[in-house]
Symmetry: D2
Subunit: 345 residues, 4 copies
């Protein structure tokens, strides 16, 4: 690729785990040029000092946010700000014609009211909510290709939706029977300095949190409704696994009428035929988080409990890759008409 064809990207809020993962992946990508990296907490400091694994691989320093400068220098910004902080700057980037892939939840929900309810924040750019495209390529690929603002899905939502949508779409399950019992490595919580994420609290421990009250629950429900055009309620239970990376999501749903495991499996095989990053496992195999670690794959395993008419679908992703930075790059590839696996395999 000629130098003038490089995609010029900047990362907002690049000191956290998502920003670090984007850098890890983009540094291997010969079609991308990294322009600006912003940090509100440590402007001026070197990338090394925050991401020591990247020492010697790039010479950038973190900068304060300067929208006009970054807009001039970038074709695309990845926004990794915490909830709320990126709404206004991202609106300005969109206005300036810069593509935005927002890794936060700011543009995932369909209305300012719902956003306020779950994130306890006013939404300062409600008009953009309609314009934003939900960045799950397997379901919104053509819209992503045209989007100016992409809401990159939540990590739990990615794993759960890839498991749920083939079933709901085909109307084979009761959409109110959905239970998602998901387990995540600790990096999913970001680099927060709080007691529950200290090594001494997490190591050799397993716990649930935010049962039926996690912010990815309304995100899942909205997308199910949008895609499958049916109402749905999800009981979502997240858990914290003593490991760094990986989500295993287990979906339970009740079949409307009996279906063989073979039939359920072929439904998934068709739904994801040709998808570059979804792997339907052979019958009898179950996904493991280590098999998708550091990759953009989602592994899906399908089982059934005929006695109870339940289908049980397991999906595994790396929460920092398919659940964040990798999916963001997949979306970038779609936006810029590159092969979808570019920079990801």
């Amino acid at each position: 690729m000629r130098r003038e064809n490089l995609i010029r990207v900047s990362i907002l809020g690049a000191t956290g785990y998502s920003g670090g993962e984007l850098l890890r992946l983009l540094l291997k990508d010969k079609g991308v040029k990294i322009q600006h990296l912003t940090s509100e907490s440590s402007p001026g400091s070197s990338v090394d000092s925050v991401h020591p694994a990247l020492r010697g691989m790039l010479t950038h320093r973190f900068e304060s946010l300067n929208v006009p400068l970054i807009a001039k220098d970038s074709d695309l910004v990845f926004s990794c700000y915490p909830a709320g902080a990126g709404i206004s700057p991202n609106a300005r980037f969109v206005k300036a014609g810069v593509k935005v892939i927002d890794l936060s939840a700011d543009f995932r929900l369909p209305s300012a009211q719902l956003y306020k309810k779950w994130y306890k924040l006013p939404h300062t750019a409600p008009a953009l909510l309609k314009k934003a495209v939900y960045g799950l390529p397997e379901y919104f690929r053509s819209q992503i290709a045209e989007a100016s603002l992409i809401a990159n899905p939540g990590c739990y939502a990615t794993a759960a939706l890839l498991a749920a949508l083939p079933l709901v779409n085909k109307g084979v399950i009761d959409p109110h029977s959905l239970i998602i019992d998901a387990k995540s490595g600790v990096s999913g919580a970001g680099k927060k300095l709080t007691l529950p994420y200290m090594f001494g609290e997490v190591d050799e421990n397993f716990q649930a949190y935010a049962i039926a009250s996690h912010r990815h629950q309304p995100e899942m429900e909205q997308i199910i409704r949008r895609v499958a055009k049916t109402s749905a309620t999800v009981t979502f239970s997240p858990h914290l696994v003593p490991m760094n990376r990986g989500i295993l999501s287990v979906l339970y749903a009740t079949l409307k009428k009996p279906l063989s495991l073979r039939d359920i499996r072929s439904l998934y095989l068709r739904a994801y035929e040709g998808e570059p990053f979804v792997r339907i496992l052979p019958e009898g195999e179950l996904p493991q988080t280590k098999n998708v670690a550091y990759s953009n794959y989602c592994d899906i395993g399908i089982t059934a409990d005929p006695r109870t008419k339940r289908v049980i679908v397991l999906s595994a992703i790396d929460n920092l890759v398919k659940g964040a930075a990798g999916q963001a790059i997949q979306n970038m590839n779609i936006c810029f008409h590159r092969p979808e696996r570019e920079g990801l395999v």
Copy 2:
């Protein structure tokens, strides 16, 4: 306590994790005298060589099984043999008037047919199945006190049943809506030398196994039927957590009619009032495995999802203590009319 009042105990198959945990607990118990420790794989070897943490704490050597000798010297045997291996010797111990607490599954199911179906082994003492008492003190205390043969419950079954039985007993949930999504540390699998339990396979990995086909599923269903006198079907999904000890079990069930969280909670508070080893957590708190590690407690946290009429009950135990050796000692205490917390707190 005078020396002649000591309970004389022997442990069959004492080289595994359950045997080691029994030794750890019994060595602190001044009311117990450890007599014989058997091992088919390493008779003659010192306890140190197998359980190096116990070095200097006892001078026993592992012996081959000698039923008459052990029967003469013991008031009680703890049987930690793998499935099938202890049926005949334990039948002989019972006949000889020695109390048996069997930590295997050999006497947990109600019939030889069911045992054969799930354990792929003929049951050589089917008559004893009727005599055996299921060693879950919270529900079978008075029978345990009189029993000659106690089937110590499975680790998953212990956690799941303590969560499920108050609901099923009171008839407030649909007994066919039960889903148990349980997560266990690796010691639950015993000291098996197989690839899936190598450090390299388990560390930084999370996976499910034996979905809707685990042997503790029929055990749970049988006990629910027996206690609640109602049929019930359970979808049981076990998982492997990259840690050594601990089970977190998450139960999902649909309420027959709406009940407030307060009402559900008081149902549990009454069910376990006065129980020495069940702790109902305050509203809003969820159990964590590390809070019950190395202890015989079961912590229970109760939540509800009113939108879906579901109740979600979480229970945490140490799989080697309340899920095996500790519960066995609790059963011994009941049999020998000692305070139930003796040797356990």
Copy 3:
């Protein structure tokens, strides 16, 4: 034991890991009565809320420090304050005739100057430094029995000194050839809320810190000088292991003249003959931290490299037990003329 013979103890700064470990151990000790638990950060809160594993085991609430009240009610205080905070109150307890076992470093070094140099704090009770006894029972047992103030040794120092002192004492090694390369679980750092101790930073990571500049280095040197009456310099390198508990210390030293492994071993066997908590491993065996986890044992393994005239001595302890709370209780037992293993095995 009659109630009036109970040792009445209080714990200052009881919310941290050492305080929690003291509580875990003391709650099993029928000869001890827990009186007051102080916390400057969370007075008034329940023990449950800070140490949820102890729920239901005691009903105390954390209190602000009230020296006269605690002095009246206690025979002994365990002081778990961070460096500096306990100097003045402990001086007052000593004056009031209450025995003090200080788990901090405040009274371990021989002079206020040295304390200031390493801890960057003025020492407000320098006179007491002379009166304080270093609480390593294997070397100071008779002084501990008479002491009013016991400086409980540092965790690294305990492991290193138990390995080093037999060699230095007998003059068989060059006392300036000592290198201690020690590795500790994360609980050794206490409950500090800092980025380096977050799960995401420690998990799947191994690192050294404070090479040749850790505060336990002068502590080790002082005690070697005091016990062996020889000057000695130690190069001490601590490391952080991705686990919660345990220290493995590896000592390298050069023999003054050739000695067989057998001779070196017998030197250790004699040095620790009859010691209740030191286990010299058989030739060819090396200590592992898991074999001493949750126990007050120190396991010592001895090897030699005849080609280089080096002796290599490995010692393993649980940093929270023999390295803190367990050793404090061992010291309490000595002070109050109880069997030394009481409450510890």
Copy 4:
């Protein structure tokens, strides 16, 4: 790169950790074509079934070793056989003009006698020992470029030698004062199915093994002698860290005459100037294994203890990358005159 310019490679013994890591790296390398993958244990099985993370990325099946076929189809073979098994086939590949990079220890030591002493195996191709080049690019780059047989260094030896050689080369330390205290993640042991590598034995445990008797000790000594042209003795102590990947090696050596830290550091800066994969950390920083995980970097941190005239040099690598597969690819790049970072960054 045009298709006809692809380097055609095959991997012998490709089912283990090194083979899997080679595949992970080579699959991203557009300049390489993977031809044959051999396995003696599972010929015929798919790569997926052994390395499930690679599902969908290649369609090869494991084959039995067929030297003529592989020689015809390959420019280079990576040999990942266990000690001894690859000697004869590799001799045949060399004879057939195929470059061999041997990841085993078979060609690392200079004589058949020494090989026999440490590996307890006869060496069936002693003449080739002289022809083999030790594949540490930082010291043998020009010979590697011409070699027909490259002995890829041991993981511990790589980390230790990169730390030791600048000091020994410049003659600033006593070459008999070298102590290497190294700590490795568990993957270093390979996929051996033995009790010490079970999760239950490694997790929350830390231990040393093979003190002063590990096979990488003579490897280190030989290379030090060869490079620095001085005799040297190393006391080498390996340890097992409860994590999967990474080695931290800590070197202790006594300076012949005093040198400032600045002088020592500049010695390293000069030694590794321009090296693509060695990063000398800024003064005051110490390497951590997680900063080199999944990368071919070796991070080196330098400290000194002027009181004892010791220099302490820490080096961190990923044992599967710079310690095995990555270094093998670096060697391949040198052999085939590709940029050295190709396929590695």
